[in-house]
C-alpha cells in the first residue's frame, strides 16, 4: 500500500501527498481514491502545473519513484522508460549509445517523461522528427479502476488494437497515470549549423520559413521571434555534414531573396523554447494554426498594446504570445487572439496566466470538436471523476 502523508507545504492546496513505489501501487492508490471519491493531481517534475483550470485536489500523486530505464536496445532504435523518469536522465542514457530522443519540450531539464506525454509538450523539433504522438509507440498506464493497461508495444510499427497512446498524449493526466513509455529514438546527428535572418515584416519572415520548410535539406528547427522591432528567423540544422551545409545555404538564400539580412546562428532557441517558464505574469496564449495563417496571427499579436514576446514554431504552426499589462487589456487581448485563431481554422488556449487572472481568464474559451465523444471517453476511464478535475478542456 502506498504511503499517503499529510503534506506540510502550505502553498499547495493539496492535503495529502502520495508517492507510489511502482505501477501496481499507483493503480491501487487510484482505485482507493475512486472508491473514496478523493480527487487526485498527478505530479512528475511539477513543471507544468499551471496548465488548465485545475482545481484543488485531495491527493497529490508524485510519480518520482516510478523511474528508471526499463530497456534500451540501441540497434532497435527504441527505449522503454518509467513514467516518472526525468527526460534529462533518458537523454543521458541515450547519449552513451550515441542516440537521442528527438523531443525538445519546454522545462526539459526538470520535466518527466509522463508529464511530457500528458501535456503533449513539444518544442521546435516537431516538424523534423515528429511530436510526442509520433515518437511514442507504447505505454503502460495505471487507471482509476486499479488496472495497469498496456497499449502499443516496443516495436516501431504496430496496429494491433486501438492506439490508446494517442489518447494519453495531451490528456493532462485526466485518463490515468502513465507509468511506462516506449519511444522511437534516433542516432545523434554528426553535424550542426544554423542561420539567423532578420526581417522588417512578418509576411517576409514567414514566407522565408515556409520556403525553408519545403526545401530538400530539412531543417531541425524553424523558429520566429520578435526582437527590437524586427522579425527574427532562427534556422538550425543537424544531420550529415553535406545536408546541413545545403540546408544552411538554402536558408541563407531564402532569407536574402526576401530582403532579409542574415547572421551567424548564435543559439537563442533555448530562450524561445523556455518562454512558458518565464511567462509568470500576464497571460501566455498558445495557438495551433494552419501553416498559411501564421504571419497574420503573429502580426495581430505584435500589434496589441499588451504584446511582450512571441515564440513561433513556423514549421508546425504553433505560436506562443506573451501578453502583459493591465488585467482588463490582457484578458481582452487573449480572447481576441483565440478568436482570431478559430477564425482561420486553428485553435488555442491560455497556456499560463498570472495567479490573479485565473478567475477571470479561463484556459479555453471554446468547446472542442468532438467534445461529446471526449466526455464519454473520460467517463469510461474515470467514472468517479477523481483524476485532475478541471485540468482538461472538458466542461466539469
Amino acid at each position: 500500500m502506498p504511503r499517503i502523508q499529510p503534506r506540510g507545504d502550505a502553498v499547495t492546496a493539496t492535503a495529502l501527498q502520495a508517492i507510489p513505489a511502482n505501477a501496481e501501487d499507483c493503480a491501487e492508490l487510484l482505485v482507493r481514491a475512486s472508491r473514496e471519491r478523493r480527487t487526485v493531481r498527478i505530479a512528475g517534475g511539477s513543471t507544468k502545473s499551471y496548465l488548465g483550470d485545475a482545481r484543488e485536489t485531495d491527493i497529490e500523486l508524485g510519480t518520482m519513484a516510478i523511474a528508471g530505464i526499463v530497456d534500451h536496445v540501441p540497434a532497435d532504435l527504441t527505449i522503454t522508460v518509467r513514467g516518472g523518469s526525468p527526460l534529462a536522465d533518458v537523454a543521458s542514457a541515450l547519449a552513451v549509445a550515441g542516440q537521442f530522443l528527438p523531443l525538445d519540450p519546454p522545462h526539459g531539464e526538470r520535466a518527466t517523461v509522463g508529464g511530457v506525454i500528458a501535456a503533449n509538450a513539444n518544442g521546435f523539433w516537431r516538424a523534423r522528427y515528429g511530436g510526442v504522438r509520433d515518437l511514442l509507440i507504447g505505454t503502460r498506464t495505471a487507471l482509476a479502476d486499479g488496472s495497469v493497461v498496456r497499449s502499443g508495444g516496443r516495436v516501431v510499427k504496430n496496429v494491433a488494437g486501438y492506439d490508446l497512446n494517442k489518447l494519453l498524449v495531451g490528456s493532462l493526466g485526466t485518463l490515468g497515470v502513465i507509468v511506462e513509455a516506449t519511444f522511437k529514438v534516433l542516432p545523434l546527428p554528426a553535424a550542426r549549423d544554423g542561420r539567423l535572418g532578420r526581417f522588417e515584416n512578418a509576411a517576409d519572415a514567414f514566407a522565408a520559413a515556409d520556403a525553408i520548410l519545403r526545401a530538400p535539406a530539412r531543417a531541425e528547427s524553424i523558429a520566429i521571434a520578435r526582437r527590437d522591432g524586427a522579425w527574427i528567423l532562427l534556422v538550425e540544422a543537424r544531420g550529415d555534414a553535406p545536408a546541413v551545409g545545403r540546408c544552411v545555404a538554402d536558408a541563407e538564400r531564402e532569407v536574402r531573396s526576401r530582403g532579409g539580412s542574415t547572421d551567424a546562428f548564435a543559439g537563442g532557441l533555448r530562450d524561445l523554447r523556455e518562454l512558458p517558464e518565464r511567462a509568470t505574469d500576464g497571460a501566455l496564449v498558445r495557438l495551433a494554426l494552419p501553416l498559411a495563417a501564421q504571419a497574420r496571427l503573429a502580426e495581430t499579436a505584435v500589434s496589441l498594446d499588451t504584446f511582450r514576446e512571441l515564440a513561433a514554431d513556423a514549421a508546425s504552426g504553433i505560436q506562443r504570445m506573451h501578453l502583459v499589462g493591465e488585467d482588463d487589456r490582457v484578458v481582452a487581448d487573449a480572447d481576441a487572439l483565440l478568436l482570431a485563431a478559430r477564425a482561420v481554422g486553428g485553435s488555442g488556449r491560455v497556456e499560463r496566466r498570472a495567479q490573479r487572472l485565473r478567475a477571470r481568464l479561463a484556459t479555453w474559451s471554446a468547446r472542442p470538436h468532438g467534445e461529446v465523444l471526449m466526455r464519454r471517453v473520460k467517463d469510461a476511464f474515470d467514472p468517479a471523476g477523481i483524476l485532475e478535475p478541471g485540468r482538461s478542456v472538458l466542461a466539469p
Partner: protein, 466 residues
C-alpha cells in the same frame, strides 16, 4: 433492402444475390455475404444510412477497395456493407497549408499523382496503392515500404469527418497540427471501421525528396541479409526503406516481373535513401560497404528512375507474383524488434516445416515487420488452409514472445481477433472496449473485428489452453 432503397434511392443500394457476391471477399481468406450493399454519395447519405441501421439494429461494415488483408471489410455478422466507391473526390489540395482534404474512396495513388505537380506527396504507400483507398488507409493505419523514415498513416492525418453508428456527424481535428482536447483523430486512425465511418479526411502533404538512391544487395543467406539491416541502422543511417525478400519470393517475382534480382540469392535487400542530394551518395556508399562487409555477392545501384522503378516493381508486385508458386496464400504481418530478425526468420522456417507448408518471405525489414506468405492449395481440401493457419499461429506467437506484435500494418480484423489475448491482457482489451463503447455504444460498427468474439474464438481459446 427495399427500405434502404427508399431511404437513399434505388441507384445507391445493391441487394440481388449476384450483386452481393462481389462483396463477399476482400484481400484476405475469409468470406461472408452482406444483407445489402450501400453506395452513398455524400456524408448526408452515410448519416441517413447509419441512423436507419441504428434504429433497426443492423451492423454496418465500411469498405474501401477491398484490398485489406485481415478481413476488415467482411460482414461476418451480416448487415450492410458501405462501399465508398462513389465518394472518391479529392476535395482540396491546399498547397500553402500542406494538406489535402479527401473523400474516403480516393485511391492512394490518385492522391499521389494529383499532388506531385506541387512537389508534395501523401507519404504512406502501401503495396496496394494502385487500388487501396484513403478511407481504408485511415481505418487500417496503413504503412508501406517508406514508413521507416516517414511514419505510417496515423502520422499523416490531422482531421477527420466521421459518422457514428447513431448517424451523428462529428468533425475531429482540422488542418492545424493539433487541436484542443483528446486526440480523437489519433484514437480513430487504425480502428478498422469499428468506431465509425470516415466521410472525409484531412491529410498532411510532405515535400517530395529531391533525390533518391536505391540499391539491391543479394546475400547467400537470410541471416546475412538480416544482420546487414541491423548493421545499417547501427551505423546511424536511417534509410527511407529497407525491404527484404527470400529466395522463394525472389524466384516468383523474377518469373512475373523480371526486376533483375539474382535467382541464386538466399536473401535480397532493397535499400533506399532519399532527401537532399547532398550527402546521398555518401550514405549510399556507406550502405554498400556495410553490405559487402556482410557478404553481399551482388550489389546493384539503380542508375536511373526507370531502374529504380524496376527494382521496386519486384517488391511491390511480390504478393501478386505468389500466384506463380501456389494458387492460394495466407499472409501474416507480425512485427518484432528488428534485432530479432535472424531468429524469427528461422522460427518461420521451422513453423513451415512443422506444418508442411511452403513459406515465402517478403517484408519491411527496417521496421521488423515480417510478411510470411504461407502457401496452400484449397483444391487439396480445407485442411491445407488449416495447416497454413496453424503455421501462422506459431509465427505470431513467436513474434509476441520476441516482444513484438500480431500486426504491423494489415490490421487485426476477423483474421487475428481470436489471437489478441496472446498480445494483450484482459485489462488491456477492456480499456480498448471503453473506447469502442464511447464511440459506438450500440456495437453496430463492423462487429466481429479486433476483439475476440466468444462464438468464433472458442475453438482457439480451447486450443491455447490445451
Amino acid at each position: 433492402m427495399r427500405a434502404l432503397q427508399e431511404l437513399l434511392g434505388a441507384s445507391k443500394v445493391l441487394g440481388t444475390r449476384d450483386e452481393l457476391l462481389v462483396y463477399e471477399y476482400d484481400g484476405a481468406v475469409d468470406t461472408a455475404t452482406p444483407d445489402a450493399v450501400a453506395l452513398p454519395e455524400s456524408t448526408a447519405d452515410v448519416a441517413l444510412l447509419a441512423k436507419y441501421c441504428h434504429e433497426h439494429d443492423v451492423p454496418i461494415v465500411p469498405r474501401g477497395a477491398g484490398t485489406g488483408l485481415s478481413g476488415g471489410a467482411i460482414p461476418v455478422e451480416g448487415g450492410v456493407v458501405v462501399s465508398f466507391a462513389r465518394m472518391a473526390r479529392i476535395l482540396e489540395i491546399d498547397v500553402p497549408n500542406m494538406r489535402a482534404v479527401v473523400q474516403p474512396g480516393v485511391i492512394n495513388l490518385h492522391l499521389e499523382n494529383a499532388t506531385a505537380p506541387y512537389g508534395l506527396h501523401f507519404v504512406p504507400d502501401p503495396s496496394s496503392q494502385k487500388a487501396c483507398t484513403l478511407g481504408g488507409n485511415v481505418a487500417e493505419n496503413s504503412g508501406g515500404p517508406h514508413t521507416l523514415a516517414y511514419g505510417v498513416t496515423t502520422n499523416h492525418v490531422t482531421g477527420l469527418e466521421i459518422v457514428l453508428s447513431d448517424g451523428s456527424v462529428v468533425r475531429l481535428g482540422g488542418k492545424a497540427i493539433e487541436t484542443e482536447g483528446y486526440d480523437l483523430v489519433g484514437a480513430f486512425v487504425g480502428s478498422e471501421g469499428t468506431l465509425g465511418l470516415v466521410t472525409e479526411a484531412t491529410v498532411k502533404l510532405t515535400p517530395l525528396p529531391e533525390e533518391k538512391r536505391t540499391l539491391m544487395a543479394a546475400f547467400a543467406t537470410m541471416d546475412d541479409a538480416s544482420e546487414t539491416v541491423s548493421a545499417i541502422i547501427g551505423a546511424g543511417i536511417v534509410p527511407s526503406a529497407i525491404e527484404m525478400m527470400d529466395q522463394l519470393a525472389t524466384q516468383a517475382v523474377e518469373a512475373s516481373v523480371h526486376a533483375g534480382y539474382p535467382l541464386d540469392a538466399g536473401g535480397i535487400l532493397l535499400v533506399e535513401v532519399d532527401g537532399a542530394r547532398d550527402g546521398l551518395d555518401e550514405s549510399r556508399a556507406r550502405i554498400e560497404a556495410i553490405c559487402r562487409e556482410h557478404g553481399a555477392r551482388t550489389i546493384r545501384v539503380a542508375a536511373s528512375a526507370l531502374e529504380r522503378e524496376r527494382l521496386w516493381a519486384g517488391r511491390k508486385g511480390a504478393f501478386a507474383a505468389m500466384g506463380r508458386l501456389s494458387p492460394d496464400y495466407y499472409v501474416q504481418d507480425g512485427v518484432i524488434p528488428r534485432t530479432r530478425l535472424p531468429e524469427i526468420l528461422r522460427l518461420v522456417k521451422e513453423a513451415g516445416e512443422r506444418h508442411g507448408v511452403r513459406i515465402a518471405n517478403v517484408f519491411h525489414a527496417g521496421d521488423g515487420n515480417i510478411h510470411p506468405l504461407i502457401m496452400f492449395d484449397l483444391r487439396n481440401g480445407p485442411e491445407e488452409l488449416d495447416r497454413a493457419k496453424e503455421a501462422s499461429i506459431d509465427i505470431l506467437t513467436a513474434c509476441i514472445e520476441a516482444g513484438g506484435s500480431l500486426t504491423g500494418e494489415h490490421g487485426v480484423g476477423m483474421e487475428k481477433n481470436c489471437y489478441m489475448p496472446l498480445q494483450f491482457a484482459p485489462a488491456d482489451l477492456a480499456a480498448m472496449r471503453r473506447v469502442k463503447e464511447s464511440f459506438d455504444p450500440a456495437g453496430l460498427m463492423n462487429p466481429g473485428k479486433i476483439f475476440p468474439t466468444p462464438s468464433r474464438c472458442r475453438e482457439f481459446s480451447l486450443a491455447a489452453t490445451r
